[in-house]
């Protein structure tokens, strides 16, 4: 048996580096965070070979004084906190005093810095454990950190590095995360001498667009909600702009990028009603709260956080996002800055919106029936006696300006979905508004309207409980039993609010005594287990609501008008008005879009008008 002894400092640093510096991207993240903590407004990153060969970050921040340079490369040395109180209320990105030391332990590092109290810049270099003397250097502002040959002395770790491109991809992602969080800072990313991303300091929304692409910002809405010391702001994409992968998902807590189960669960639930189940929402969200209420000191990489009151954070995020997603078509002002643009030009993101070339290729298919098509379109218009619908002469005038007067209701306000003109193949309703043509999937739209009505009716009332004649007892683990006991001791028993009555029969047995009436035919044990698991993990359970909504969804589907039901113009207009007044009416219950807009510009393009 070898004897127990203290490890050499170098080895300790290398071990610590394993946690902090998992790959070049994590080193980059740490250094960028240091730059931001130093108050920089311009940060540029230059990488060679995906950051493995060289990584150079220069900023214009506060800099490091000469006598602190050596300390900066030493473990547990930091300027960011100095006492436990600071740790509990940490507002800077870093605080552990480990990052630079860890990086230095496994690479050839050089730090050059200019501090305002010095006459000129100073440089210090390290290679593994060995620090050089501090020497004068020519630098007028900020700090340059240069890291070469990452993992040169830890061959085991070096073997785990992926290809240059992969590592660069990770670095770019790390860079993107940082860049999104600080729109007020100018960022530059270079790789192998070529500029990859150049981001000028700007507004948050502009930065999001630059980093995440124009299609994201066109399809996303801005939200900003605060309540009880919590603030959630950022942009979230509409459900129709959903992804197959969880790539465009950025959550920041007090400016720090995190991957938190609680937050993602809340977001997922907010989208649940409008998103197809195997699609993932896209969003950039910033949660701001008193630093004292969140513990970031969970893991060295700091992507995990603990909330002191997880339940209320979960509830707040869910409600803020849910509310924003629910806003009906009629009132976009609070959220979407430009409704016309975001709905109309969303071509690349919405797979259901045909792009211009697709329209072209479709022309062949329609070629043998255009006459009939137009006849229905205009025939309906000319014989329409309803004063609310458009008259035939405006319809034949394709000039959008001339049409500007149509689609106004008596109060002078515009109906966003315009007025119905016809129904095609018993499936789609065509309507025209000031922007052009609106195509509505009538079944999907009506289904959503019915669904929301059913939901609203039930949400308003208490959950009726059906006590069981034969209580169902089941074998439970200690966690489940503890959850039940905890809930029973609370004044507002979460279980009872959900329509459950669960009793503890023995330390390992629970009995379901009552279940919500709506779910009386469901498997009581499975239901109770789901609810308990949710209550334990997230403090709130939507298991009941989810199941109930499934039932309501089916009811709504049966109650909604089916395809091939011929609707009259007043019926179609009523449907459009209902859609405008209904929350989440942009998607059907399954997340499919219910309508889309073809603008006059697009129509003109199709016919090569005005060219």
């Amino acid at each position: 048996m070898p004897s127990i002894k203290l490890l050499p400092d170098q080895l300790v640093s290398q071990i610590a580096a394993g946690e902090v510096v998992e790959r070049p991207a994590s080193a980059l993240k740490e250094i960028l965070e240091n730059s931001l903590d130093a108050g920089s407004t311009e940060v540029s990153v230059a990488l060679l070979n995906g950051g493995i060969k060289q990584m150079r970050v220069s900023d214009n921040g506060g800099g490091i004084a000469r006598n602190e340079l050596a300390l900066a490369l030493t473990r547990h040395a930091t300027s960011k906190i100095s006492s436990l109180d600071d740790l509990e209320r940490v507002a800077s990105l870093g605080f552990r005093g480990e990052a630079l030391a860890s990086i230095a332990a496994i690479s050839r590092t050089e730090v050059t810095s200019y501090h305002s109290q010095e006459k000129h810049g100073w440089r210090i270099a390290s290679e593994g454990a060995y620090l050089t003397e501090v020497e004068p250097a020519a630098l007028a502002v900020g700090t340059i950190v240069e890291i070469q040959d990452l993992y040169f002395n830890t061959p085991a770790r070096r073997k785990f590095l992926k290809t240059e491109n992969t590592e660069f991809g990770h670095c770019e992602e790390a860079f993107r995360r940082i860049a999104l969080s600080r729109p007020d800072v100018t960022f530059l990313l270079q790789h192998n001498g070529r500029a990859v991303m150049r981001l000028a300091a700007s507004e948050a929304q502009k930065r999001f667009e630059e980093v995440l692409g124009a299609d994201f910002s066109a399809e996303a809405f801005y939200l900003d909600e605060s309540a009880a010391g919590l603030r959630l702001w950022g942009m979230a994409a509409k459900p129709t702009f959903s992804r197959h992968a969880r790539d465009t998902q950025y959550v920041y807590v007090n400016g720090r990028f995190v991957r938190d189960k609680l937050i993602s669960h809340a977001i997922r639930q907010a989208y649940q009603d409008v998103l197809h189940h195997d699609r993932h929402p896209a969003f950039v969200l910033f949660l701001e709260l008193d630093p004292g209420l969140v513990d970031v000191n969970v893991h060295p990489s700091k992507t995990e956080v603990r909330f002191r009151d997880g339940q209320s954070v979960h509830r707040f995020i869910f409600h803020a996002l849910h509310k924003a997603l629910a806003t009906p078509i009629g009132m976009p002002s609070s959220l979407t800055p430009d409704m016309a643009v975001s709905e109309g030009n969303a071509i690349p993101a919405q797979p259901f919106v045909p792009t211009y070339p697709r329209f072209q290729s479709n022309i062949d298919l329609r070629a043998n029936e255009p006459a009939g098509f137009y006849q229905t379109l205009f025939g309906d218009l000319s014989r329409s006696s309803n004063p609310e619908t458009v008259t035939s002469d405006t319809a034949t005038m394709p000039d959008p300006i001339a049409n500007a007067s149509i689609g106004l209701h008596p109060s002078g306000q515009e109906y966003p979905l315009g007025f119905a003109v016809a129904q095609i193949h018993g499936v789609y309703v065509l309507a025209q508004n000031t922007q052009g043509l609106v195509v509505v999937d009538m079944h999907a739209a009506h289904e959503r309207i019915m669904y929301e009505k059913l939901k609203n009716a039930l949400d308003a009332s208490r959950v009726p409980m059906q006590p069981l004649l034969l209580p169902v007892s089941f074998h439970a683990d200690h966690l489940e039993v503890a959850t039940v006991q905890e809930q029973q001791s609370l004044p507002d028993n979460g279980l009872q609010q959900l329509g459950f009555d669960i009793a503890v029969l023995s330390p390992t047995t629970l009995a379901v005594r009552s279940i919500p009436v709506m779910l009386k035919d469901a498997d009581a044990v499975a239901l109770a287990r789901d609810v308990l698991a949710d209550l334990r993990q997230y403090g709130a359970s939507r298991a009941f609501t989810e199941r109930r909504n499934e039932l309501l969804g089916t009811m709504a589907c049966h109650a909604a008008v089916r395809a091939n039901r011929i609707l009259t113009i007043p019926e179609m207009n009523a449907l459009l008005r209902d859609m405008e007044a209904t929350e989440r009416s942009g998607q059907c219950n399954h997340g499919r879009p219910t309508w889309f807009q073809v603008t006059m510009i697009e129509l003109d393009k199709m016919f090569m008008r005005g060219k």
Binding site: P464, M465, P467, V517, D523
Partner: protein, 367 residues
């Protein structure tokens, strides 16, 4: 091999046995029925592997035949033939020709030997009960509606038949309400209980008639045999432990009233129109000599029915799933029913006047 038979003689037994034949089956022979003819007798057998019905008809057929034919097709053919048509059936290799007048049908058959006939379980028969067809049918109808349907507690998807001394108890429950009925038997037996599957119960109700003729029920291990008239029904039983119903049936409920069954049934049906279509909740508000039935739905519409009753108990406001109430009122046959309550959170007991053998327990709903 060919036989002759009158269409009307064949039609009735044919439709009786066809009821249990499943339309869609992975085993083709299960959509067939077994047809066996011997000079003066014809026997039809159908099975779904859980239960089997065979029916024999005494009639001169003038030949012998043993084969299996699609139940549905044969039934459809017989049904659409003119009345009293004389049907000739003749097998030719794997086919059978059904002929009458100028109509001819050639149907595929499968060998009779392959037909999965259920036989009486070997070993000693434990119990043989005899009971009139009419009374058995009545017992089943009184409790059948309370059975569970496709519940994961599989033992609730059927009826409990319990023989105890000289009593036969039949119980059905779906976990929310329970229906119990009992009758006296001619002789005394050892205690025994079986759970009869839902499908068997429903078929039995269809097959039993209103006569006083006796049904012989043989209860063997894992199997129950019913013999009445020309019909032999063999059914597997559900292997499970039925919940202890005696603990569920309350006693000593103080607040009770008697009411005309049809009157309260009609009131309930009217009130249910405006009950929430998903909850089906209805409030029963009891005050001295008055019962109000109140229902509201999600559109804030409200129905109120008031009944004059003889009630001297304490005032009570209690909610129920109206479907559970309508079910019991529809399925008992007495003129008056008795409702008994303890308080708004305890179960309600419904009994019929002058008959201690029937009890229905339903849990209230907290609206």
């Amino acid at each position: 091999m060919n036989i002759k038979i009158n269409r009307d003689t064949l039609l009735k037994p044919l439709s009786s046995v066809s009821g249990i034949v499943e339309r869609r089956h992975t085993l083709p022979i299960l959509s067939n029925l077994l047809l066996e003819a011997k000079q003066d007798k014809i026997v039809l057998t159908a099975t779904d592997l859980e239960m089997q019905i065979s029916l024999s008809v005494e009639t001169a057929v003038g030949g012998e035949l043993s084969t299996t034919i699609s139940a549905k097709k044969l039934l459809d053919i017989c049904r659409s033939l003119p009345e009293n048509a004389e049907i000739t059936m003749a097998t030719q290799e794997s086919k059978i020709q059904v002929k009458t007048g100028k109509s001819r049908f050639n149907l595929q058959t499968l060998p009779a030997n392959d037909y999965p006939v259920m036989t009486k379980a070997a070993g000693a028969t434990n119990t043989v009960i005899k009971i009139g067809q009419k009374s058995l049918k009545r017992l089943l109808k009184q409790v059948e509606f309370a059975m569970a349907q496709q519940d994961i507690r599989y033992y609730l998807n059927g009826l409990l038949f319990e023989v105890n001394g000289n009593r036969l108890n039949v119980v059905g429950t779906d976990g929310h309400r329970l229906s119990f009925t009992s009758t006296e038997l001619g002789s005394s037996y050892e205690k025994q209980e079986i759970i009869l599957p839902r499908k068997t119960v429903i078929e039995l109700i269809k097959l039993l008639d209103e006569s006083e003729e006796e049904v012989t029920i043989e209860v063997a291990s894992g199997q129950a045999n019913f013999a009445f008239g020309d019909i032999r029904l063999i059914s597997k039983v559900i292997d499970g432990k039925f919940p202890d119903y005696t603990r569920v049936i309350p006693s000593g409920h103080q607040n009770s009233f008697t009411v005309d069954r049809m009157m309260i049934l009609l009131s309930m049906q009217r009130a249910s129109i405006l009950s929430n279509e998903k909850y089906r909740g209805i409030r029963m508000v009891l005050t001295e000599n008055s019962l109000k039935l109140i229902s509201t739905n999600s559109e804030q519409e409200e129905a109120e029915e008031e009944l004059e009753i003889n009630y001297a108990g304490s005032a009570l406001d209690i909610g129920f799933n109206v479907t559970y109430m309508i079910d019991v009122l529809n399925n008992v046959d007495s003129e008056n029913v008795v409702f008994s309550f303890a308080d708004a959170n305890s179960s309600c007991l419904v009994t019929v006047e002058n008959d201690n053998n029937y009890k229905y327990v339903v849990m209230p709903m907290r609206i």
